[in-house]
């Protein structure tokens, strides 16, 4: 397996969707190629950062929606 193929398979590797033979080839390449190990680590860190990118905003949500929006929704329901 080349670095290019390794790169293409990362997504499916992380979700466990690679067929066994391809997975074996992927892991063999991972053992042999330090550059792809670093690339895989950066990919995994990217996914983690992406998943948490909005946590602080969600934690600091304003406690209320704009009053005019509440009024508009409730009024539209009655129309």
């Amino acid at each position: 397996m080349t670095c290019r193929e390794f790169s293409d398979f990362i997504g499916d590797y992380l979700t466990g969707d690679l067929p066994a033979t391809v997975r074996a080839g992927f892991e063999h390449h991972l053992d042999l190629c330090p550059n792809c190990r670093r690339y895989l680590r950066s990919y995994e860190e990217t996914v983690k950062l992406g998943r948490h990118a909005f946590d602080d905003q969600d934690a600091l949500l304003p406690p209320e929606v704009p009053e005019e929006l509440v009024t508009a929704i409730l009024a539209a329901r009655l129309r």
Binding site: T2, C3, R4, E5, S7, D8, I10, G11, D12, N35, C36, R38, Y39, R41, S42, Y43, E44, E45, T46, V47, K48, L49, G50, R51, H52, A53, F54, D55, D56, Q57, D58, L61, P62, P63, E64, V65, P66, L69, V70, A72, I73, L74, A76, R77
Partner: protein
């Protein structure tokens, strides 16, 4: 999401067309739903339109809501779908190519670039106040069709099939866009979080 609410009582109120129940559901779940809509449509006015349309759809469909899911998840799904419909109706600008942000390879299949580890693992970076803002800024720089899929899969946690249905794509196309979007984001983040300058 919001203060603890008695969801069964709330649902019963909605089914009985109790005015107070409608107001409670808007005030309780509205802030989170507005945040989700803002993330997707990136315009305050359009985000509020999305939330209003989503609530009205939910109110009309309350009889079909079986109550097996949480009200919050049900509303979340409706807001996401409404936001996606809004995105589809927008006239999209010609999208910039994602290629410059993807890894490049030599003819023998090796990476052109030599990668370095980041200055710290994601868990440590996330302890820094500015990290999330940097990541959000880079997500915003992704071409729109990749950004949308990345947000729906990795942040809103929709399944591949749900995203495929919502965007009119095949599941394979969703997987490819997600993978490329993550690769592009990784390229952008590398410059912010790299330990050493690479060749």
């Amino acid at each position: 999401m919001g203060l603890p609410v008695d969801e069964s009582a709330l649902l019963a109120g909605l089914r009985e067309r109790d005015e107070q129940a409608f107001e409670t559901i808007v005030r309780t779940y509205g802030p989170r739903l507005l945040a989700v809509a803002r993330r997707l449509v990136r315009d305050e006015g359009e985000a509020q339109d999305v939330v209003q349309t989503a609530y009205l759809s939910a109110f009309r469909a309350v009889e079909q809501f079986e109550g097996a899911a949480q009200i919050s998840s049900w509303l979340h799904r409706i807001v996401v779908n409404t936001a996606l419909m809004k995105l589809r109706t927008r006239r999209r600008k010609p999208e910039e190519s994602i290629e410059p942000l993807l890894p490049s390879f030599l003819t023998d299949g090796h990476h052109v670039e030599q990668f370095s580890d980041w200055s710290a693992p994601a868990d440590v970076l996330l302890e820094r106040k500015e990290t999330r803002a940097i990541v959000r800024d880079h997500i915003d720089q992704l071409p729109e069709s990749y950004r949308d899929v990345l947000i729906l899969r990795d942040i809103e946690e929709l399944s591949t099939q749900e995203v495929a249905d919502a965007l009119g794509l095949t599941p394979t196309a969703v997987k490819v866009r997600l993978h490329r979007g993550r690769q592009a984001l990784s390229t952008l983040l590398r410059h912010s979080f790299l330990r050493n300058v690479t060749s």
